[in-house]
Structure formats: C-alpha cells, structure tokens
Amino acid sequence: MATATLTLLRSSVVKKAIMGLTGLGLSGFVLAHMTGNLLIFKGAQAYNTYGHQLTHNPAYPLIAIGLLALMGIHFVCGITLTWENKRARTQGYAVDAADQKAASLASRTMAGTGSILAVFIVLHLITFKYGTLYTITHDGVEMRDLHRLVIEVFQSPVYVAWYCFSLALLGFHLKHGFAAAFQSIGFGHPKWSAHIKCLAVVYALIVALGFISQPLYVYLVHR
C-alpha cells in the first residue's frame, strides 16, 4: 500500500498539481510584494515603515519559511518535470510546427524563464535582504532604511536593466503559468478557460509593470 501511494505521489498528475499550487502561492506573493513596492511613490517614511512592520510581524518568520518552501518545491518539481520531459523525446524534429499548430513561446520556455528567475531571486536577496544595513528614525522608531539602499542600487543602469529584464521575464512566466496552474489543479472548463487566460495576461502585465515601475522611477527621478 505504501509503495502504491508513493508511486501515485510521484505521478505526473500529482507533480503537475504541486507545480500549479506552489505557482499560485508564489503568484499571490509577487502580487502582494509588487503592491507594497509601490509605496516608493509615497516616500521614504511610508516605504520604510511598511518594511519595518512587515518584518516585525510575529508571523513573519513562518511566512518567510513558507515562501522559501514554496519556492524550493516549485523549483525542484519544475526541474524534475523538465528533465523527464526532455527524456520523453530524445530526438527532435527537423522542422518546427507552423503557426496554427505551434505552441506559444511563453509555454515553451517555462523552464528557461523559471531558471533565470531563480538566479534573479538569489541575487535579489543578496542585494537587498542581505545588503548594506542603513538605519533611520521615523516617528521615534529606529528602523532599516531600505529606501536609501533602493535609491543607491538603482543609480546603476546595469541594475536597472537587469531588473527590467528579469521582471519582464517574470511577467512572461506568469502569463502562461497563472492560467496553466488552474488547468493543472483540474480547473479547466470551456466556460472559464478563456476568461482565466485573459485574467492571466492582465495579472502578468500588472505584476511586471508594477515591479518595473520602481527601478525606472528611481533611476529617472531620484538622480
């Protein structure tokens, strides 16, 4: 019985459901993260206070570990799926399918965009989470001055370009991923699928543009 259950757990359908569920969890996170970032437009105090409150919430360590787990599972599962998929066709075709029978670019490059995102996430944590620790006092509370670090980092056109590129890729990953996740967990229906696809495009655009607005704003306005 145990082995049968284990085989089932390793089945393609379960792996896909895990991919979809972790992907949706991460999708919720990036939307919240992006919205929080928009506080940069309000100024240093709002930005820093938000960060301070977030990291000093008693649930913060739990959420951080949860996110790390989501990311780890999504990553390992994605790499496993991609590896298995490569092995399922050892010899490719000489010609690519023409227009109406071709798959979308976003759907064909999920492993590629995902891997670049993994590199981006690690570098991003090093730059900001573990970056220079400036402090500032707002309303008598001493807190981390992330605003200053952000302004500093995005003076570099290289950083701005890398962020714009990676976040555009995130949008691309989500354009396919957000819609595919519903299908993977069994939620696909002629009445809803077209709307979900449309929602995925809107959602991906909002997330990508919202994120990209921050480095661009800093680079262009905070000189």
Binding site: S12, A17, R87, A88, S107, R108, G186, F187, H189
Partner: protein, 249 residues
C-alpha cells in the same frame, strides 16, 4: 505540381536514420498525401529499392493509423485533418516538404515512418474499459443520461488514438489521449462507478510507458484531428486527484 520531399528513412529501431530527398514531378493537386506517397513508392519499387514504410488503413480519417509529421506538424498543416484526408493542393508548387515519423521515446520507430504505438494499447488495457457482468443487455432507454453529458462523452469518444497529441507535444505527453479515454467512460453512467480506479490505473501506466508531463502548451489540442480539447485533461486531473484522495488501498 513539382515537389521536393525529404523523407525520414530508417531501417529499424537500431538504425540511426536519415533524411532522403525525392524529387516529384507532375503531382496531382487532387490526390491525398498518402496517395502521393503511394505513387512515389511505385517509382521507388520500379527502381529496385525499398519503398517508404508508413502506417495506413481506413484512409477516411477514422482509424488513426496514418501517423506522420509533415513540416513539423502531426498530420500536416490543416486543423482537424488526418494525413489520409490531407490533399496535395494544400501545398505550394515547388515546396520542400519534410516527412518524419512521430517522435517519442514511448513510440519506438519500427521502420521509416512507422512507429510502435502499443503503449496506447497497454494504457487502455490498464483501465480503459467498463467491467460488465454477463447477462442480458440492459434496455438502453432505462439508463438515465443527460443530453449534455452524452454529448461530452461522445466528443471525447471521437479520439481515434492516433498519437498526434504525443507527436506534437514538446514533452511527448500522452495526457490528451488518456484524458479522452478517461472522460469518454467516466461521463457515462456505465463507466462512472469505476472512474477513480480507472484514472489511477491509466495514469500510472501512462507514466510507466515514459511519456512526458503536460505543461499546458496546447499543441496537442491544435494537432488533434478529432479536436479533443484540453478540458478533458482538466477533468482527468480532477478525477485523478479525487481518486487519490478517496482511495482506500
């Protein structure tokens, strides 16, 4: 019309295989793709060579034998069309056409364009049936089924098991095929009682055969000559996850 054909020739599953070029003159635009190959094969035979091996049977789009990938697309460029129903007028005069076998690790190549699709049979044998005790056939009118569900089951049952979904999927996934078989039976009252057991067994066999995993690219749906939809894969996922949750042993 004049055409250049680049056909995959491979002696056996051991052979490495390669493209061989054939120049064709005066091909009638009204013949089907398979008839064009028949004419070419006659020429090849007259020259004393081995004709191009390819699978075919009904030649009317219902048996699913005619597996080949034409210019990168399973069953060629047209939607909802099998190779046997594809006509040469669909191509341009002077066109170069690449003809390859369905490529997937789970579909080993027998010879040239012929592949071994018995993996599909084994998936069917694993659970793609309804267990019926012997006795008198029940009165069809006494089995309640809604028009909507019988239509959905019928759409799924249109699958001819040709394998174009596997051939066109970048992951060589068989999920469209398996989901069509699962849906066809589970949507009907006769098949519903065994739906969880069935889907668990069929997916297990599918994975064992070495097919890839679906990444929802939709290439299978676009290539399917019978227009089986991704909705079936979502249903299969639902029934599998449900079956997994309620399974007792």
């Amino acid at each position: 019309m004049n055409l250049t054909l680049k056909v995959w020739r491979q002696k056996s599953d051991k052979d490495k295989g390669r493209f061989v070029e054939y120049k064709l003159n005066d091909v009638s635009p009204d013949v089907s793709f398979l008839e064009m190959l028949d004419v070419l094969n006659q020429d090849i035979i007259h020259q004393g060579h081995d004709p191009i091996a390819f699978d075919h049977d009904c030649r009317e789009g219902i048996c699913g034998s005619c597996s080949m990938v034409i210019n990168g697309s399973a069953h060629g460029p047209d939607k909802a069309t099998t190779t046997c129903q594809l006509h040469m007028r669909r191509f341009k005069d002077g066109e170069v056409i690449h003809v390859e076998p369905f490529r997937a690790k789970a579909f080993p190549i027998h010879k040239d364009l012929m592949v071994d699709r018995s993996a599909f049979d084994r998936i069917q044998q694993a659970g793609g049936y309804v267990s019926v005790n012997t006795g008198n056939a029940p009165d069809a009118n006494a089995i309640p089924v809604s028009k909507e569900y019988s239509d959905m089951a019928f759409d799924a049952a249109a699958c001819i098991g040709c394998g174009a979904c596997v051939a066109s999927c970048k992951n060589a996934s068989a999920m469209l095929f398996v989901s069509a078989k699962v849906s066809h039976l589970s949507l009907l009252p006769q098949g519903a009682p065994e739906k969880h057991e069935r889907v668990l067994k069929m997916v297990a066999q599918m994975d064992k055969e070495g097919f890839g995993n679906c990444t929802v690219t939709g290439a299978c749906e676009a290539a399917c000559p019978k227009e089986i939809t991704l909705e079936n894969i979502a249903r299969m996922n639902r029934e599998f996850l449900g079956g997994f949750a309620v399974k007792r042993k």
